[in-house]
Amino acid sequence: MWKYVLRRLLYAIPTLLGISIIVFLVTRLAPGDPVRLYTFGALNVTEEDIQGLRAYYGLDQPLWIQYVSWITKVVRGDFGMSLQYHQPALGLLFERMGATLQLAFTALFLQLAIGIPLGVMAALRRGSWVDNVIRVFGVIGHAIPQFWLGLMAIILVSVTLRLLPSQGVLTVGKDIWDVPDRIRHIIMPSFVLALAGIANYSRYLRTETLDVISQDYVRTAHAKGLGERTVVYVHALRNALIPMVTALGGILAVLVSGALVVEQVFTWPGVGQFTYAAARSRDYPVIMAGVMVASTLLVLSYLIRDVAYAIVDPRIKVK
């Protein structure tokens, strides 16, 4: 097992290198120069100043030299200074990581806490109106664009009903440990982020549960006189949940990158929104750092998924 983990981690290195090269090229291929962008309209900036700044940031070098100097610094943990904020890019991202993780984990919790019971309920009452309602929800939940749902929620809940705040993690001026205030802020964005996943899990778990409860060992459990609850929750659900581990793996990173839209809608100060802003303002170091952090998360969560899968289901062997 450890050998397997180690090999996967080694494989991750060329993958991440490849990603960095692609993003480096994509961002650099675009015409336009960040120095000119940032000095645009500023008075008293001469052509010499611009050239000086370009040299300072190494932007006058050939691309491959720029890449090599970037990667040699990254190996030492230095992702360079943000062109826009004049602070270390990685530090800026980590400051925003907390907000994104809060949102992602809350959404993940909602997905599991709501999606799994819905799926099991639908499967156990197959063909009833409960099942139909849950199935319709399972399909519709997918067909609603996140940004639209978010904006509608703001208009309905915040503007019209004035129930919940529409932006940020905290009311300005409140203590950072004001938990009730934080909860009020996170309710809407986390639900909007979770919706598609809730729909997905309920569909997924419905098929899984239906699959499992028609198997022989479940019939045996019934036959030896166990109660319905014991059969479903102790015997059936455990096996129905195994494939969920696969689904769980990619979910964290998907939530982190999918949170971009929700963060944008709710002005949530997270990593996705920040990386997007950097992409629009050509803040190269921040784009690179943002992509590398997100990809590393994704690679790690794939690994965790595969290992967890092997642990949960002894029938699977990793090699």
Binding site: G18, A30, I140, A143, Q146, I155, A253, S257, V291, V299
Partner: protein
């Protein structure tokens, strides 16, 4: 007498058997698909949308960019019976903040949505199928190389990658071609071919040592012929299903890009951009937001139903 009766019955039975044999896997699948009411409803919606998209210039009452500010923010005609004073029988679904006809813009918006659904998915199909097939069948260092490359794209958070490509390359020639549509095609294709390639590779790996492939090789079929004539038809079922689900995904991404303001350039009407613009005037009237949102949801639902139907029809045991 008796013998003829038996023989006719036998003939009839043989005839029956022959008739049944003709039903191929695909005909069975089509039959199952057509018995699925949700899938048929979805298919009907898609055909209708395609019709609207193709004939938009003929059936649309106005030009999608024709402004008429005195008639701005008209509400749909049916709100008249609920007391709205801002309706105009010239604007069946109302008008937006610049007095452009919403019905017309929705019709033209159908074009963008369908094109964004189908074109990148066609590219994904060609690229993903070729790479997956070659990687799986040839194996060895070719497989290794292609799969390492696939891993790179696979480790990229999809939406983030699309957004970065589109946001940074918008100013280039690629980004301005076809009002920005081309760049969106490219971004969607780059990100999404990986899943298909991996799917096909896996299928090919499990098939390539089966007898029918060995038989084909034994009679001297070339690798290309084996891949196209023997392997491809056998991996087609899961491929169709995964492509059917890729289409609504691409549409949703386009709408999201339009919402972020990096989609197809205005004034080309797209549903996502209409929603985005509509929110500015939402306090005055909700319809410029609600109508395109309704269209997006309906078309996404339609494709999801067809995808579900295809999956059930092609292989009831398959789970995607």
């Amino acid at each position: 007498m008796a013998t003829t009766a038996v023989s006719t019955r036998r003939q009839a039975a043989q005839h029956d058997l022959a008739a049944r044999k003709q039903r191929s896997l695909w005909r069975d699948a089509v039959w199952r698909l057509f018995r699925n009411r949700a899938a048929i409803a979805g298919l009907a919606v898609i055909v209708f949308a395609a019709f609207v998209a193709i004939f938009a210039p003929i059936i649309a009452p106005y030009s999608p960019i024709q402004q008429n500010t005195p008639k701005q923010l008209m509400e749909p005609i049916w709100t008249r019976w609920f007391g709205s004073q801002f309706t105009d029988s010239g604007y069946l679904l109302g008008s937006d903040e610049l007095g452009r006809d919403i019905l017309t813009r929705l019709m033209y918006g159908t074009r963008v949505s369908l094109i964004v659904g189908f074109v990148p998915v066609a590219v994904i199909f060609v690229v993903g199928a070729s790479i997956g097939m070659v990687s799986g069948y040839v194996g060895g260092w070719v497989d290794n190389l292609l799969m390492r490359f696939t891993d790179i794209i696979y480790a990229f958070p999809d939406l983030l990658f699309v957004i970065i490509i589109v946001a940074t390359l918008r100013g280039t020639e690629l980004g301005t071609a076809m009002d920005g549509l081309l760049l969106i095609f490219v971004a969607l294709a780059i990100v999404n071919w990986v899943g298909l390639a991996r799917l096909i590779r896996g299928q090919v790996l499990s098939l390539k040592h089966r007898e029918f492939i060995e038989a084909a090789r034994a009679i001297g079929a070339t690798p290309v012929r084996i891949m196209i004539r023997h392997l491809f038809p056998n991996v087609l079922a899961p491929v169709i299903v995964s492509l059917a689900f890729a289409i609504p995904g691409a549409m949703l991404t386009e709408a999201t890009l339009s919402f972020l303001g990096i989609g197809v350039r205005p004034p080309t009407p797209t549903w996502g951009a209409m929603i985005n613009e509509g929110f500015i005037v939402f306090q005055a009237t909700p319809w410029p937001v609600l109508l395109p949102a309704f269209c997006i949801s309906i078309i996404l639902l339609a494709f999801t139903f067809v995808g579900d139907g295809l999956r059930d029809a092609l292989d009831p045991r398959m789970k995607i």
